[in-house]
């Protein structure tokens, strides 16, 4: 099955689960005074779930004809092995690690690590550029966000008490 129809099928499942919640569970705790209203919190979700399920079904069943004239996709997902998939996955992992480390490790350390490792993964080896650029960017952004704009960003690791 083509990827687009698989995705439509997954969205159909989401619409069905969403519709189930809207039709059968959401209204159970509705206070009596709200039940007199012509519109309930579930009204709009009910409409969306029905239309969404119908549209997703039509794509999953292949009812819509693609008349795009066989346009070549930017990335052919059937040949992902031909692309730099390892680098992409590593960078995604790095983003997750950054999200998890930002608070405990602090902004400066985690940002420098992220920028340097990201460049290394992509093949950069000029350390004398990478390290000063990463240090300047981390320090500059931290100063702008924390000191100028007043949005708190913990600069150092948690054990330093900042």
């Amino acid at each position: 099955m083509a990827l687009e129809r698989c995705i439509a099928l997954i969205i159909l499942m989401i619409c069905l689960a969403y519709g189930y919640a809207a039709f059968f569970t959401m209204d159970a705790t509705l206070p009596p005074f709200m039940q007199r209203n012509p519109v309930w919190p579930s009204t709009f979700p009910k409409i969306l779930s029905v239309i969404g399920a119908l549209v997703a079904l039509s794509i999953a069943l292949g009812l819509e004809k693609d008349t795009g004239g066989g346009k070549k996709p930017d990335i052919d997902y059937t040949r992902l092995g031909n692309y730099k998939i390892g680098q992409a996955l590593f960078l995604l992992g790095l983003m997750v690690a950054y999200a998890l480390c930002l608070r405990p490790v602090g902004f400066l350390g985690s940002t420098m690590f992220f920028l340097i490792t990201g460049s290394v993964v992509l093949g950069e080896r000029r350390w004398f550029i990478m390290i000063p650029v990463a240090a300047f960017a981390s320090g500059g952004i931290w100063y702008l966000v924390q000191e100028v704009l007043g949005i708190f960003l913990r600069p150092w690791p948690f054990f330093l008490g900042v």
Partner: protein, 497 residues
Amino acid sequence: MLEGILIGLTAAFTGTNLLMVIGGCLIGTFIGMLPGLGPMSIIAIMIPVAISIGDPSAALILLAGVYYGAIFGGSTSSILINAPGVASTVATSFDGYPLARQGKAGKALTVAAIASFCGGTIGAILLMIFAPMLASVALLFHSAEYFALMVVGLSAIAAFAGSGQVGKALLMTLLGLIMATVGEGALFNAPRFTMGIMDLQSGFGFITLAMAMFALPEALYLVLDPARSNNEAGGEIKELRITRDEAKQIAPVIGRQSIQGFLIGVLPGAGATIASFLGYAVERNIASKEDQEQFGKGSIKGLAAPEAANNAAATGSFVPLLTLGIPGSGTTAILLGALIALNVTPGPRLMIDEPEVFWAVIVSMYIGNLVLLFLNLPLIPYIAKVLAVPRTFLIPFILFFTLMGAYIGQNNATELLILVGFGVCATILRFADYPLAPLLIGFILGQMLEDNFSRAMQLEGGIGFILERPMTMGLLTFAVLLVALPTYRARRARIRA
């Protein structure tokens, strides 16, 4: 009126005030480039500085400079790295980023600057002439009309429903609308579809979703296929200036969208986002077939339309603020707070009691626009050079700014994990050629659409309001035409061929 303009000019043309507007424009432009920091946040940050100045005219001139600078800065990140930090610049990235990929980043930034300047200036002229009259018209719009207006805004998705893509574009819009229902709605005050997760109580963050839909998949595509990093022009940055022919092409677009954007901006709550989407949709629909095919692929008309509309709407949102004391957008709400802190009460008597403040606001808009144009045009070649940075540095920085945008917006590390999750989903959707812009349009307009729909249902006692209110009916018919007409034209062309 001439006397008023003279009062405003006298207030604005002092050494201090000119420094204020130049400083404001620079601060706004550079901070506005950071995804996640839109005009609203930057103005909020600058308020203590403005209040400390003491003089209301000088404070307003500073804030106007920051405002226009931030709008232009937001467009810059949309065009260069496909990272729209605010909702009103999402439509800018539809054609701005493809232009940048063709090596025409300089041209795209120039078109954006000129369209913004014209939109802001025409808006300021209209504000000066029609402000009191339009304020009363804006009050005729009720929830039913707002609901219909949001539906008209949603019709912008038609621009992404290419051949055999109508169903996909519609499905993505519905998915965006579904995502907008997650969290605590403004009207019902009860959490919905949060699955007991506390972080979802306030719903998904706009910036997180915008970064996940646009910036992250693009960065991953650049990683997957290194040949993409050298843009279609082979890594070269060319065509910084717009030609006479291009100027002729965009002039009517800018004129139309400045007026339309201003009128939409006048309506409290409608704002620059709807104006930019609607501007894009209308221009695409009235364009010739050849031009229509260029929309979404790097059309300068497609870039000029939302930029002009967005800026004109930003100016239009001052109408209810200055004439009625009603803030029509988040930004004007913050400005209202600043004005009150400066002992100025906006409302019907502002023009009579404090004419120097009223006219200083209007003149500061002109000056803010003018300074921005002359300040930024020479900087454009240097700003465009961002794209010439080697990919080994550029990609980690795009990813970092994407993460920072999401983090600053919510100050929550969970948001970063949501960003990565949605980014992966968006990349898979892009593999299957699902258009992602409709999802974001649906998400942005979803909550306003539901709130106005529910309010109209409650006020009118049922769905009958659609038939009973002529303006609602008219707007909904217009929305249907905006979607149906291009489909009909395309089908007719296919049959003829």
